[in-house]
Symmetry: D2
């Protein structure tokens, strides 16, 4: 089945990664053409559902300052929105999806109802096919890919994580070079809160017809920016219920079976998790691109005298942590029949 | 009192910082002239006590592969050695000194006896005036400057620290540029062990005539290298006995009285600790040089759901963490009368 | 004589360098206090002469988009303006001043007349004491410091220069880090034109009462941005009339006597030009700060099969190339009696 | 035809790029397995022809300190050597080959005779099939790709080039990070001489049975190292005989027909030269990888008041400038029947 995808926010940093990844996507999803730079100052009115009538669904790389309103308008108009924005991630009926970990959460979309967001009196409903699905924050997703196997095998009781995040995570123009070259920044606005809460929902359990039962182990994050182009490196320490040895932790990470196994999703990496034995790995410039940027890397798994286990972790922030994660979500939804061709088509819109 | 100081390892990275800092030292300590590069391959034999007869004491910036033997030879020959090398830091009768925190540990040198290291049958003894005093590892010293006030005010129960360390900490040529530019490295050989053990001795109590009673709270370190020139940034979380609020922690850090207050040591910074309120500070390139590189900076003191308190910390690795720390140690010892002019003087040697 | 200096554009990158350099200036020139960041959006009206009545003269670090109008208003109101902005550099009666090279050009200010810029009907005249003096572009000044001795000794016939310019030259936020880290940019807007024309005026001859007779040798510039914090490195090749050898060129550079010799200007560096013999020097991070950032460095003087002579050149862009150059200009003018206390004083203003 | 390729110097920086590029080479050339790091200290004896009996030819990524002797030994033993080393580039009977420009120079190998390099009395001759073919220096090749069309269309009279070269050009460990981060280096040993001479041979004419008639226009190079990972950026200015306009130069660059057109060489890029109109392009991080690293990029073609024409140029130094260039040479030779299966085969060797 061939679907047509639009891109909201196609001129931004995340939008451009969508375009790059979709350009040769085996499903032939149409990414449209990026707006020339001079047109970047599009008004909100132009990023409207009518302009995307030819699309079966849209990816959203919109900035969070506008994503709330625009994504609501698209969902209300019956358009599935596969969003990378943070706005609806923690909303009770919106899946915060990592297909290898919690594909079942996709069922939440059956409960969504987006009302009359357009203000035109024509309320959208779930029956119209409009919904919103989200992927996690770029620093959360790598962490949760490691926590899922540990939760399954040993139980997670507490997590501490210190990030060394790449510059591309701040978009363009983003971090001024005078702050980045020969420097490190001890603060990234809003990032620590996302890392503290999103894992609880992703690893939570979805009871029939109800909300996700969130996990409640504490996650303490300290987020830093370093002079790296792509790839968030994270120093993680965890307290696990059954107090496994480092060798047992590595075995659990290596033997974890992603829920996507056997699904043939084009963007799912051959290797969900790469566990290094070399002490000097993983490194952002050398390993962020493993598995096309979708593989999570872990190294230096060892004992921690305070928490029990500590390790280094690496994840590609603009692929797995943004556009690639959203595309994998769309692939899962398509596989499950939750994305379908829409009746009326005119053109493909890009905003 | 005017003393003459020699420098062991003067051509290395630490040795050159010794030279820079001593060049305008108010005590007029003579740093000698750095060896031209072509002579860098000096043999161990030339770095011998005889060549330094004109010095009242020596600073050692030697690499740890040779520091053990050479420093022992100097001490055995009656020469006080103010060392930055790791070799004797944890030896029971060698002070691991931070003058603002544990100046009393200097008394340990009275118990030192270095025997006949020269192999010439003439045993050195403490009576000869030879001894070794050390300063902590460059990543430890900033941490311990923050822990000392917290230990005094609240009691320390556990520490987690993730470092983002500067390239200059690896010396020259040190880290290859292809490992550093646009990259971060999750491993620094030997560093995590030093951070786990040195604070226990520095914050320990010296009973009369006995050993230092080490502290025993766990310290878990994860050491990383980032593309910074000078200044180790550290993400620290601590569990404190009396569970203070972030405001109380900041107050304790700000009101701590260094033991050097009133001593007029030239290298002691006006401000022992700078506590920032701005979330984006401290930053290596902007703040490592505060107090001439001797001030420790702390920022983002806040609650940690796992440990209680977390914060960002910054310390200059080649000044406070190496040559500057050693010079401050010498200033303390001179003030206490533990460094004195030696009878025989010929020339000032530099190795 | 103690004068009071105001700073126009004090919150910008150049303005902040003015403040840092003036903070400990031996003349006690008052720099005022930088505006807090929140007030950076000052309107043009507030940067008006009335607010600076307490100043004997002002430094201008204004952006060129506003400098033209504001500097005119100050000059018209009788306030000497020592400007780093490009707006009036090439105006016939405005000195483009490098005190070591063309101090006599300062006489041009006697011809300036700024009319009624304030729009209040009260025309300003030179008799009022208002004037504008400028310093060269940050990439021009290092070049011209090398060209002046060569012109004097051999005659300059043609110049080619390729710059590798520091990030601080673009101000803050300036160059996005994603453009700078691991990258180089082959274009800096407007820069090449300034390098092609400003040397002609600086090295020109001022006939009595007339205009500066510009030089007319061609200067071809190719300006690039590289990941350096401070210090513009330039690859220069020159065709000289008398075809000197590299040794003769080095001798001319070393033996040049700056016109400021014997003037005791506090910001004039002890060494106007440093000529390196080591092939690997000069380097921005190691040598931009020589002479407090006011010394120009040259290295690798050698034969060029196309132009005759080529060399590497380095100059500190925010000190010699901006605030430091302007301060030296003010020192020259004060020495010559062209800056004097103004009668009416209220407060010191900073805009 | 399927040939087996060995790699000399497979553990070095260039050797590893050979392995990466050959790994998926459409010709199925076997690259062998890189030596584990612990075996990197191979002795010269082991890099001997006997160990490569199973190979039909070898690529050489050897360091120039050993390449001269080893490559001679292989050629003398009858093994074609496709070398990236500088040692034989300027030897009269060795082709310095850029297939798009001077494929006819390959005929030089018919004149090669390598004698009895092995010292076993069995002289090698051209009849044995052993020869050496070289590709240009990494900074030369991009330049010559631009000069070839200009020479053809307008005639080249003089060239000036200032390079901003990537760190990977120095190999690993190569440039220390303390020299690279926030810095630029004005010197690269030996580089300027290669740029001055190699273009003369590449663009020269091969008379029947004789030597290449070298061009003799002067090339003046100033070579700098900047903090870029891959991609040499060059500021080029040229004096052309027929004094074309910038528009005519761009047209000549765009319409140049590479000699490889129609040859179906797998590594020949679809676009030999990319000419940008955007002033801010080309940039190393964004464009070095164009055409799989084999396309040369040019931008900012404009008038030069000294030389006539100037432009920015970019070429990938480890692909087009090293392993990729050598592989393309091998493809040309195979196409021409100059590389053939050897009779005796045992194993594939890697040194």
């Amino acid at each position: 089945m061939n679907l047509k995808a639009g891109i909201l926010g196609a001129t931004g940093a995340v939008g451009q990664t969508f375009i790059r990844l979709l350009d040769e996507h085996p499903c032939g999803w149409l990414a449209g053409t990026p707006m020339p730079e001079g047109v970047a100052g599009l008004t909100v009115q132009e990023c409207a559902p009518d302009a995307f009538d030819g699309c079966d669904f849209v990816f959203s790389g919109l900035d969070s300052t506008v994503a709330g309103q625009i994504e609501r308008a698209f969902a209300a108009a019956g358009v599935p929105v596969i969003s990378n924005a943070k706005n609806y991630r923690m909303q009770g009926d919106v899946p915060l999806l990592v297909p290898e970990i919690n594909p079942g959460h996709a069922a939440l979309i059956e409960r969504q109802s987006w009302g009359d967001a357009g203000g035109d009196g024509a309320a959208g409903t779930a029956g119209d096919g409009g919904f919103v699905v989200t992927n996690p924050n770029c620093s959360t997703v790598g962490l949760v890919c490691a926590l899922a196997p540990l939760q399954e095998a040993f139980g997670v009781e507490a997590v501490q994580v210190v990030t060394m995040q790449a510059l591309s995570g701040a978009g363009y123009p983003g971090v001024p070079s005078l702050d980045a070259v020969g420097n490190a920044l001890p603060y990234i606005g809003g990032e620590e809160g996302k890392m503290a809460s999103e894992p609880h929902k992703i690893l939570g359990t979805l009871a029939d017809g109800g909300d996700v039962q969130h996990m409640n182990f504490p996650v303490s994050a300290q987020c830093n920016r370093v002079a790296v182009i792509d790839g968030h490196l994270e120093a993680v320490s965890v307290r696990l219920t059954s107090e496994p040895s480092p060798a047992e932790v590595k075995e659990a990470l290596r033997s974890f079976t992603p829920a996507t196994d056997g699904m043939d999703l084009p963007s799912a990496p051959e290797q969900f998790m790469r566990v290094f034995e070399e002490e000097r790995f993983p490194q952002p410039r050398r390993h962020a691109g493993l598995g096309g940027g979708m593989t999570t890397s872990v190294g230096r798994v060892r004992s921690c005298p305070v928490m029990g286990i500590k390790m280094a972790l690496l994840s590609h922030n603009t692929v797995r942590g943004a556009a690639g994660g959203a595309i994998l979500n769309a692939e899962l939804l398509a596989k499950e029949g939750r994305l379908e061709p829409r009746a009326s088509r005119r053109d493909v819109g890009v905003s």
